[in-house]
């Protein structure tokens, strides 16, 4: 399984695997928003948590179809399904690789982008915490959407339609956590809820994804 993780990471970093693509997309979203709503710092500071979260979500979505599609095309997914490793484990590893290549860079870059959007000083910590807790759920849920659409020729748009509603609870609690953190309110409830959602999805969704892959490869 570690070998699989290393392979996925290497594939993502090399050969235009879209390693920096999500990050660049994130940057573009953050750059475009001030053009849309005007450069006043007050407004930007108010909407910054939401913008950063929606941007992270879209950046994550952008790379989802790569999780299984390439392996499906060259046939290595068939080998992975028949390998002695349980398919649920393969899915989890794939989600982890996806998170390391898209989620983690976003977490690291978020404070910088927060400065661009005049995110209040105290909220930076919460931004990083919320993304760190929330983005794994995005990756794992993404594997479910990717698994459902893996056999389709033009699954990209359908994938967005399927996955985005699943992101709603994570987005709500993630953005709420930052907003409360920025205003110095009690952050315990959204923090625990966000962590709970992530823990539950990481534990359970791989089973659904694996079931969908088995159906698609039948």
């Amino acid at each position: 399984m570690i070998a699989l993780l290393m392979r996925d990471l290497r594939l993502a970093v090399r050969a235009g695997g879209g390693f920096g693509l999500g990050l660049a997309f994130f940057l573009i979203v953050v750059t475009l928003v001030p053009f849309g709503v005007g450069p006043e710092g007050k407004i930007l500071a108010r909407i910054a948590p939401g913008i950063l979260w929606v941007g992270a979500l879209l950046a994550c979505l952008l790379s989802l179809d790569r999780i299984f599609a390439l392996d499906y095309e060259d046939g290595s997914l068939d080998l992975l399904v028949t390998a002695p490793v349980p398919l649920e484990g393969v899915v989890s590893i794939k989600a982890l690789a996806h998170w390391i290549t898209t989620g983690l860079p976003l977490v690291v870059a978020a404070p910088v982008f927060g400065i661009l959007l005049h995110l209040p000083q105290g909220a930076h910590v919460w931004m990083v915490i919320s993304l760190l807790l929330g983005t794994p759920a995005l990756s794992v849920l993404g594997t479910f959407g990717a698994a459902l659409t893996v056999g389709l020729k033009r699954g990209g748009l359908l994938l967005s339609l399927l996955v985005l509603p699943f992101y709603v609870p994570t987005l709500i609690f993630g953005a709420e956590l930052v907003r409360r953190g920025a205003e110095g309110m009690n952050t315990e409830t959204p923090l625990l809820m966000l962590a709970g959602i992530t823990a539950a999805t990481v534990a359970l969704v791989p089973f659904a994804s694996a079931a969908a892959i088995r159906v698609n490869l039948r």
Partner: protein
């Protein structure tokens, strides 16, 4: 003799052939009586005026929108566990009806909200969660349309309906947390203090029954169409082979 006998397509077609006219009849009678009663023979309510009448479409549609997804989850489970094709087709047949019910609930809600709340739309938990439910319906329908092999499509949409059901409920409570609502609380709870007056309750009850039978009739018609389409496809395939 067990309930699973009706999963046999032949038996299903034969039984529903007999049931269907009755369902349509009951649906028509209850809907017409309920709506006419509700719209013309009920006094205008205090604080609400004539706008109270939207309740006779709004509440049953909202109720069906949620329950149709539940029905889809159940039929999908039956398909996933026991592989009865009729069950999968029933789930497929129900999805567009559910989507339309959700849309009806949203639109009638907006029509009611304009004079009452002074806004067409508000990011209230109930409204938001219905919008999300609508998106789930769209995704479900789109997945059915996108996958070519019918068995694969039935499996995938089945899994989607299960996971989607969990997340629809989760979104509901997350939205609850996110924004305090403008929407009134449960009007139809069974404890007497909150319950609406009988004058409005009886026609509403009739309308709810009407919507249930209306849905039943529609889903039977659509499932029968799906079964026939399946047969047609099988016949065509056999001819091509011959």
């Amino acid at each position: 003799m067990s309930i699973w006998e009706y999963a046999n397509p032949v038996k299903f077609m034969k039984t529903t052939d007999k049931i269907l006219p009755w369902t349509v009849g009951v649906a028509a009678i209850t809907l017409i009586v309920g709506l006419v009663w509700g719209y013309f023979f009920v006094p205008a309510a205090e604080n609400f005026g004539g706008s109270v009448k939207v309740i006779y479409v709004h509440v049953p549609a909202a109720m069906m929108a949620i329950n149709i997804w539940v029905m889809m989850v159940v039929t999908s489970l039956i398909w996933l566990i026991r592989r009865h094709h009729v069950s999968a087709l029933a789930a497929k047949a129900a999805a567009p009806i559910g989507a339309v019910m959700t849309l009806i609930a949203l639109i009638t809600g907006a029509v009611w909200g304009q004079p009452m709340w002074g806004t067409w739309w508000e990011w209230d938990p109930r409204l938001t969660s219905f919008l999300i439910l609508f998106l789930f319906y769209l995704g479900y329908i789109a997945l059915w349309a996108a996958v070519e092999n019918p068995d694969t499509a039935a499996d995938l949409t089945g899994v989607l309906s299960l996971v989607g059901g969990v997340f629809a409920v989760l979104s509901r409570y997350a939205a609850n947390f996110w924004n305090q609502g403008l929407h009134q609380g449960a009007t139809l709870s069974m404890d007497s203090e909150q319950h609406i007056a009988d004058v409005y309750w009886f026609p509403l009850l009739l309308c709810m029954a009407g919507f249930i039978f209306f849905f039943l009739a529609l889903v039977l018609i659509r499932t029968r169409t799906e079964v026939r389409a399946r047969r047609l496809g099988a016949i065509q395939q056999r001819e091509r082979m011959a």
